[in-house]
């Protein structure tokens, strides 16, 4: 039986073969199975895109046409405690341009089994959020006479987030090595050295201390625990996928960021390709439009083909084109032509635009096949 399947591995993709394997009754006869496989091959070949089909332009038209109907502005939900996310056309442009910095970086953090049940969810979320000293302080008291700064902490807030005094002391110590630290009740007292007994120095230090990093994941500015189905997950504004994946309560298989470049760096280009498809598809579905996902796959493939994300701009995908004329016909023609003339580039007229410019048959569809025959030369 397996021998038979092996034979078809050249004719069918592995997934189709595996599907057939799984769904076949145990006692099927070899002849019957062969008939099924034969029929599958015929159906499979029927579904393949024909050689010479201009898939690129069809994708462009298929995405572009509904794109004209997309609403330009996102709905803003006034008063709802939800973060505003770039959606609609601006988001699609952002993705396809391959922007390095996006308008609203976000993460969806899924949690492992005991943590995702909602117990202590707020505390877990707060521990992910980047906390600065300022946020847990209730009052700064400056004693000019003794050149001391007394930091009085809000212990309720500290308990909510789960911060202990030693952590704070350690963090202050690493940032301000020259200060003398002492703890007294719910306050930490900083004393300046003899050398720096000036008053303005006191205030400067106070302002600097406010920004000391205490705990959490850096650049995660907001957190929002939400319930999705039967489990809880955390949505964040600001991304830091690498650091989040290092936390032990995070489900590393499902947690995702919407920053494509971060995904490329942390998870690799294949993950980024999938992220492009997911993100664009999400927007299109949100707008109530219907675009076949294979068009998006083609775009994502093109953007990721070089191993890094290339936007559909003159600096990205278009730059990779081999034809001088095709590049020149897109944007900044003179730049491309001068650069080509400096190195003596040759345009082999292998693609569509160049051939339209020269009015030659474009190598797609009926223009693709040629005749192979021997021409007698005299």
């Amino acid at each position: 039986m397996n021998k038979l399947f092996k034979k078809y591995e050249e004719k069918l993709p592995l997934k189709v073969i595996n599907d057939i394997k799984e769904n076949m009754p145990k006692n099927i006869s070899e002849a019957k199975l062969k008939r099924i496989l034969e029929k599958t091959v015929i159906e499979y070949n029927k579904m393949l895109v024909e050689p010479g089909e201009s898939v690129g332009i069809i994708s462009a038209e298929s995405i572009g046409e509904p794109g004209t109907q997309m609403t330009l502005n996102t709905f803003h939900f006034a008063g709802v405690a939800e973060m505003n996310v770039t959606m609609g056309l601006p988001r699609i442009i952002e993705i396809l341009d391959g922007r390095k910095t996006i308008k609203t970086p976000m993460m969806e953090i899924y949690l492992t089994k005991p943590y995702n049940q909602g117990k202590n969810i707020k505390r877990i979320a707060l521990s992910i959020k980047e906390t600065k000293l300022n946020e847990i302080v209730s009052e700064f008291v400056i004693n000019i006479a003794e050149s001391k700064i007394e930091i009085i902490f809000d212990e309720v807030k500290m308990k909510n987030i789960g911060i202990e005094y030693p952590v704070i002391q350690k963090n202050i110590k690493t940032s301000f090595k020259e200060l003398a630290l002492s703890k007294k009740g719910n306050a930490i007292i900083l004393k300046l050295n003899e050398k720096e007994k000036e008053i303005n120095q006191l205030f400067k230090i106070k302002e600097k201390i406010k920004d000391i990093y205490i705990q959490g994941v850096k650049s995660v500015t907001h957190i929002l625990p939400i319930k999705k189905g039967s489990e809880f997950l955390i949505v964040t504004a600001g991304t830091n996928l690498k650091k989040v994946l290092e936390l032990d309560f995070v489900d590393k298989t499902r947690t995702i960021s919407n920053n494509l470049f971060e995904i490329t760096n942390v998870l690799g280009i294949e993950a980024a390709r999938q992220a492009i498809i997911n993100e664009v598809f999400k927007v299109i579905q949100n707008q109530g439009l219907n675009v076949d996902i294979r068009h998006l796959m083609l775009v994502a493939d093109t953007m990721c083909a070089t191993g890094s994300i290339k936007g559909v701009t003159r600096y990205g995908v278009v730059k990779e084109k081999s034809s001088v004329l095709a590049k020149a016909s897109f944007e900044t023609p003179l730049k491309h032509i001068f650069n080509a003339s400096l190195v003596g580039e040759v345009d082999h007229l292998n693609s569509v635009v160049e051939n339209v410019m020269l009015n030659q048959p474009v190598p797609v569809g009926t223009g693709l096949p040629g005749l192979i025959t021997k021409v007698k030369r005299d």
Binding site: G52, E53, S54, I57, I58, A60, E61, L334, I337, F338, S341, V346, V352, V356, M357, L358, N359, Q360, P361, V362, P363, V364, G365, T366, G367, L368, L371, T373, V375
Partner: protein, 600 residues
């Protein structure tokens, strides 16, 4: 302290703003200061704006004092007897014009009944809220504002009689409607503005129904018999002008029948309609290409010798001929002098325009549409009393646009036609629909305006009762005859060798970038090539330097201006625009080298 501004410039401060503004207004009403001055006190920012400059939209209102309008019965009587004028009322301070700013300070009563002590002004009539064109829409207060605006805009494009001396006027693009009618459903403004002296539409019998689907998407269907009787018939006038220009060399143009040996002589046939003076005669039937005014000009560039040797053969032809697709009858010839003292000839051409498929018609309610089908009267549906409609209007145009006034006009028009009187549809002051219905009933018709109708082709009774009545329809100036355009072959541009653009130049219809993409998407490569072949050329290329070579056809020799004649030169077939691109690259000091390869 409140700041005082005159036309936006700071001029001083005022201590008691309310008292100050009241004083200014009182002075204006008493004629102490000009009546085109407006004052506005803004309580929020505590400043006073006085404006008497141009460009402010102002409207007249009756001044109210202590809850009583200053306009008295006596005033009205005198006005009616023409003893005083409207301008006298302004001088008396009874009526004043407010601009948008001063209106903010005013409290304006809609009608006399709702006047209270607080009111400062009273509307002369609610109709004064809208402009002239909008006030010509009957029953306008029953339709959405957007539709009323569209309706009033459409009326400006309607054909009528723009001036009664039109036969002796020379204007561009003039249309005159042949049998204009006074609208059956009117507003007071039709009488006031003298619209009834030069109406621009016709009262048509309209049935609201579909007919074989030829009135979908806002199309209308016309009755052939009605058109034959003159419905929607108009005349289009267009002048052609020729001037005997003087040139700096002392030479002049000459209006005459050109000699045969002149440069650019057309054919004898083209000049056949010209009389001895080189000008066409009135009532001549002309078609495209016919010369209307024969004219010759001196040569464009004179060398020093030519001045003394002016053979007529060096003059060139510059006659005015009818352009592609134009035809008509010569209506009027005018020979006069231009402001520079040159002889000036103006010829007016007339063309009768009978309604045809695609001509645009509209009612006064923003319900415009083009003619979708012209039906013989025999095939038109008819009522029990034998009436066939002039126009069929699709009911699908109503629900989304909500033009109720269009529907009411139909009933009002029907009542007016049957009782031989005009119906008043003045905005906010209309004859009530209920009254119309009662009257219609008493005239022996169904009060809701529907009638039993019969299929004109089979004679069968139509299952539904059809809403039928009279609506004032107008023919708009957008006529197919002025717009129709197609081309197979024709003129090309000198520079690019591509077809010219636009109807006037008999141009091609552009297949643009996105249209090209659809060809590529379909994979119809060779069709695309054929479509873009309009500027295809065959040029010789030197295989050594890759540039365009020379083909000397007289000696049948090929050579390259750079490499000489000892190189291989081959012909290639490309679009001329690409050759142009190569030339432009050369001018940018880029050497575009063509490398030839055998295709097979």
């Amino acid at each position: 302290m409140n700041e005082l501004y005159l036309n936006g410039k700071f001029i001083g401060k005022v201590e008691n703003p309310s008292e100050f503004t009241e004083k200014v207004r009182e002075a204006r009403r008493n004629g102490v200061i000009p009546d085109n001055l407006n004052i506005y006190y803004d309580k929020r920012v505590e400043d006073i704006q006085i404006n008497d400059n141009k460009g402010r939209l102002r409207r007249p209102l009756i001044v109210v004092k202590d809850g009583q309008p200053t306009l008295t019965e006596d005033n009205i009587k005198k006005l009616q007897k023409n003893e005083i004028l409207f301008s006298d009322l302004i001088k008396q301070g009874v009526i004043e014009y407010l601009d948008a700013a001063e209106e903010e300070n005013a409290f304006i009563a809609f009608s006399r009944e709702e006047l209270t002590k607080e009111h400062t002004h009273l509307e002369i009539t609610p109709l004064a809220m809208v402009g002239l064109c909008t006030s010509l829409v009957p029953y306008a207060n029953f339709s959405p504002g957007a539709r009323i605006s569209i309706g009033s805009k459409n009326q400006k494009q309607a054909l009528g009689m723009y001036a009664i001396n039109f036969p002796i006027r020379i204007d561009m693009d003039v249309n005159i409607l042949h049998y204009p009618q006074i609208p059956l459903v009117q507003s007071i403004m039709h009488e006031v503005s003298n619209y009834n002296k030069h109406p621009s539409g016709q009262n048509m019998v309209v049935a609201v129904m579909s007919y074989k689907g030829y009135n979908v998407d806002d199309a209308v269907i016309l009755n052939k018999a009605s058109i034959d009787r003159g419905l929607g018939r108009s005349t289009y006038y267009r002048p052609t002008i020729a001037e005997e220009l003087r040139y700096s060399s002392g030479l002049t143009d000459e209006i005459s029948i050109p000699d045969k040996d002149i440069k650019g002589y057309k054919s004898e046939r083209d000049y056949r309609l010209l009389e001895g003076d080189g000008i066409i005669f009135p009532e001549a039937n002309v078609i495209e290409g016919d010369v209307i005014i024969g004219k010759t000009s001196p040569p464009r560039f004179l060398s020093s010798m030519d001045q003394y040797n002016l053979a007529p053969s060096s003059r060139r032809e510059s006659s005015v001929a009818l352009k592609h697709g134009e035809e008509g009858v010569i209506d009027f010839v005018l020979i006069t002098e231009s402001s520079e003292g040159n002889r000036l000839v103006q010829v007016k051409i007339r063309d009768q325009r009978i309604p045809e498929l695609g001509d645009k018609f509209t009612s006064r309610h923003g319900q415009k549409g083009v003619v979708g089908l012209i039906v013989d009267q025999a095939d038109m549906p008819f009522t029990a009393s034998g009436i066939t409609p002039d126009l069929l209007f699709s009911p699908h145009g109503i629900p989304s646009r909500m033009t109720i006034s269009h529907l009411i006009e139909l009933i009002a028009g029907k009542t007016g036609a049957l009782s031989s009187r005009y119906i008043d549809g003045t905005l906010f002051d209309v004859e009530p629909e209920k009254k119309l219905r009662r009257e219609l009933l008493s005239l022996g018709f169904r009060e809701n305006g529907v009638e039993t109708m019969y299929n004109g082709i089979t004679g069968e009774q139509l299952e539904a009762k059809i809403y039928i009545g009279n609506i004032y329809y107008m023919k708009l100036k957008h006529m197919v005859a002025n717009k129709i355009h197609a081309r197979a072959r024709g003129p090309i541009q000198l520079l690019t060798r591509q077809p010219t653009e636009g109807r006037a130049k008999e141009g091609g219809l552009r297949l643009g970038e996105m249209e090209k993409d659809t060809f590529v998407a379909h994979g119809v490569s060779l069709l695309l090539k054929e479509r873009f072949d309009a500027d295809g050329t065959v040029i010789p290329i030197c295989e050594s330097c890759g540039m365009v070579a020379v083909h000397d056809k007289f000696r049948n020799k090929l050579y390259c201006p750079i490499c000489g004649d000892n190189v291989e030169i081959n012909f290639i077939e490309i679009s001329y625009a690409f050759k142009l691109l190569l030339d432009e690259l050369k001018s940018l000091t880029v050497h575009p080298k063509l490398i030839l390869k055998n295709k097979y």
